[in-house]
């Protein structure tokens, strides 16, 4: 566990818009790495991000980012970059100016600001069109220029609200690679996205939201273990599927053992995965079967989302 000065800490945070609930009693602490905010429309993801960056203030509770609050804007916004979902830009601005002038407000001199601008444009793949007016950009380009602005000052915390929206598959892959490399550099990267498969692939942990509440939070596998209503699914590719299935059925916690159509594997549904793995070890050690692969089949974001929120993981 990191110290609170290296974490993003929400303590009992609530936000009400009049009588309308934004988020309620949110408490968590996030370490560095990639955290995904997942939930259906209106679940409070953007509210949570706006609270984190001080665009709105909590009705109750407190938020600290690396030990800082938005009451210390100079220190705070040197550490935080936020790529919002608002698809609007100052009228008449060019891509270059859109990044350069905020950097000047950070206190960077003209030369340093120009260098950082070029670097951010390069990283976002926007260097070629930087001198054009943003009004003439496509949706994907606007998304990328916002992303470039949010990373230009080398923040320690990067907050990205639906950063993959409007990006074509190549740009999306590049953006994901960028997020991964930033996380490897030790950044806190917080992403909200409705593309669950891609979020799942890169996330170190998830915060699952529904109707303004945090339904679950933590590393994906840990969250999956906590969902006890739905037995874990484990896929075992092995030589003697029938033998494994019958052995598994002898365990009380195994609720289903389904032999795959090709006969070379079993899909186990169990309420106690640890016990099943012990059984599997014993069978393999006894030489009764040969195992080619063992993999959890439903400890991904999509499954967790489905179990906890009840949708099929479509747009969220």
């Amino acid at each position: 566990m990191s110290s609170p000065d290296r974490q993003i800490v929400f303590e009992n945070v609530s936000k009400f818009y009049g009588e309308v609930l934004g988020v309620n009693r949110v408490t968590f602490a996030l370490d560095q790495g990639i955290t995904s905010l997942v939930g259906p429309n209106g679940s409070g993801k953007t509210t949570l991000m706006n609270l984190l960056t001080g665009l709105i203030t909590p009705s109750r509770g407190s938020i600290r980012v690396l030990g800082l609050t938005t009451r210390q804007p100079i220190e705070f916004f040197r550490q935080v970059g936020y790529c919002t979902q608002f698809d609007s830009f100052p009228p008449g601005t060019t891509g270059y100016d859109f990044i350069f002038w905020p950097l000047r407000l950070h206190g960077f001199g003209s030369k340093q600001a120009a260098k950082l601008t070029d670097e951010a444009l390069e990283r976002a793949g926007m260097a070629q069109v930087a001198k054009r007016k943003v009004a003439g950009y496509s949706k994907g380009m606007r998304q990328r220029i916002r992303l470039a602005q949010s990373i230009a000052h080398h923040p320690s915390v990067l907050v990205l609200d639906e950063p993959l929206n409007g990006l074509d598959p190549i740009a999306r892959a590049e953006a994901i690679a960028l997020f991964e490399s930033l996380a490897k550099q030790g950044l806190h990267v917080i992403i909200s996205s409705h593309i669950l498969e891609e979020v799942d692939r890169i996330s170190d942990r998830v915060v699952l939201m529904s109707s303004g509440y945090v339904v679950a939070e933590g590393q994906i596998r840990e969250v999956r273990k906590e969902v006890r209503d739905h037995p874990m699914q484990i896929l075992v590719r092995c030589s003697n599927a029938a033998r494994l299935a019958s052995a598994a059925f002898e365990l009380n916690h195994v609720v289903e053992a389904k032999i795959l159509n090709d006969g070379c594997g079993v899909l186990i549904r169990t309420r106690d995965a640890e016990q099943f793995y012990l059984l599997l070890n014993k069978i393999v050690c006894s030489g009764l079967i040969e195992v080619d692969a063992v993999a959890p089949a439903d400890d991904d974001v999509n499954s967790i989302y489905q179990y906890l929120i009840g949708s099929n993981g479509g747009p969220v």
């Binding site: 001080g54 608002f86 609007s88 100052p90 002038w101």
Partner: protein, 291 residues
């Protein structure tokens, strides 16, 4: 806490502030705001407010050849005083400042771009000051140019007599007084409208109330008159205009105050309103959907 403690804390706070950074930020903000707001199609009605008297005087110069006699200088001086003191100060600058200063924050809310200003390492107080200075520069530039143009057009057609009135007579003094009144009106109304834009989503109704207050303030006690921009400016106007008829509603009669007190008073009033704006900006949240 003793007075010494307060002074020591204040001194420590002053020393801890990154004044150089604040200076850079204000200059960047002013530059960007002026570039965005000085010449824009959205300001066409403001330019019209500014330029109407100039166009009328220009037409008068081009077609009114019968009044170029030096005999008319006094009359034209009173016309110019009416233009500056009644039209510009009471109406033109009032409504232009309403348009310029309320748009500085409220406009960014409408255009959904204010969050960019809130996501940079700039104190919101610095943001208020930067935007106020930018608005003031824009308003002063537009109206000082217009007043200068009106002044030139008024006296240029009298030839040598006009030059004599300006350089050897009271002309330059009047011009400097008009310049001062114009600048102070921009500062005073600007600060008030900036604060109103942070208090209200729609500033038209508060603007009308303010106009009414500026009109009736003279009937209130002296302390209440100090809350009116026009009551300060009245003492700085070089020509006394006894207005009759419907325009009388725009004249004010206040207790006599020395020009220095009027200038310092208006500046203090504006600083107080800007300080209030610095508190108000902290309440602003980015909730574009309700704008």
């Amino acid at each position: 806490m003793s007075a010494d403690d307060v002074i020591m804390r204040a001194r420590k706070w002053m020393q801890e502030q990154p004044w150089e950074l604040y200076g850079t930020q204000v200059s960047v903000l002013v530059r960007n705001e002026v570039r965005r707001n000085l010449f824009t199609r959205r300001r066409l009605w403001v330019y019209l407010l500014v330029v109407i008297p100039v166009l009328i005087l220009l037409a008068h110069n081009l077609f009114g050849h019968d009044t170029t006699d030096a005999y008319y200088i006094e009359t034209e001086t009173r016309v110019l005083a009416g233009i500056v003191q009644l039209y510009y100060v009471r109406l033109g600058i009032f409504f232009a400042c309403m348009g310029i200063f309320t748009w500085l924050f409220r406009g960014e809310m409408v255009e959904r771009t204010l969050h960019y200003q809130f996501l940079v390492p700039v104190r919101r107080e610095v943001l208020v000051i930067g935007k106020f200075l930018a608005g003031t520069l824009i308003a002063i530039f537009l109206f000082e140019t217009a007043v200068l143009a009106c002044f030139y057009l008024t006296y240029s057609r009298f030839g040598a007599a006009g030059r004599a009135y300006v350089f050897d007579g009271p002309g330059l003094h009047q011009l400097s007084a008009y310049a001062l009144v114009t600048a102070l009106a921009c500062i005073g109304y600007g600060s008030v409208f900036l604060a109103l834009s942070l208090l209200f989503k729609n500033t038209i109704v508060p603007g009308i109330v303010l106009m009414g207050w500026e009109t009736i303030a003279p009937i209130f006690p002296t302390w209440a008159q100090r809350l009116s921009v026009t009551s300060y400016l009245r003492h700085l106007c070089p020509i006394s205009l006894p207005v009759e008829g419907p325009m009388a509603i725009f004249t004010v009669v206040t207790e006599p105050v020395s020009p220095v007190v009027a200038v310092v008073g208006l500046l203090c009033f504006s600083v107080a309103v800007i300080v209030l704006s610095c508190f108000l900006i902290d309440r602003i949240e980015i909730t574009y959907t309700v704008e």
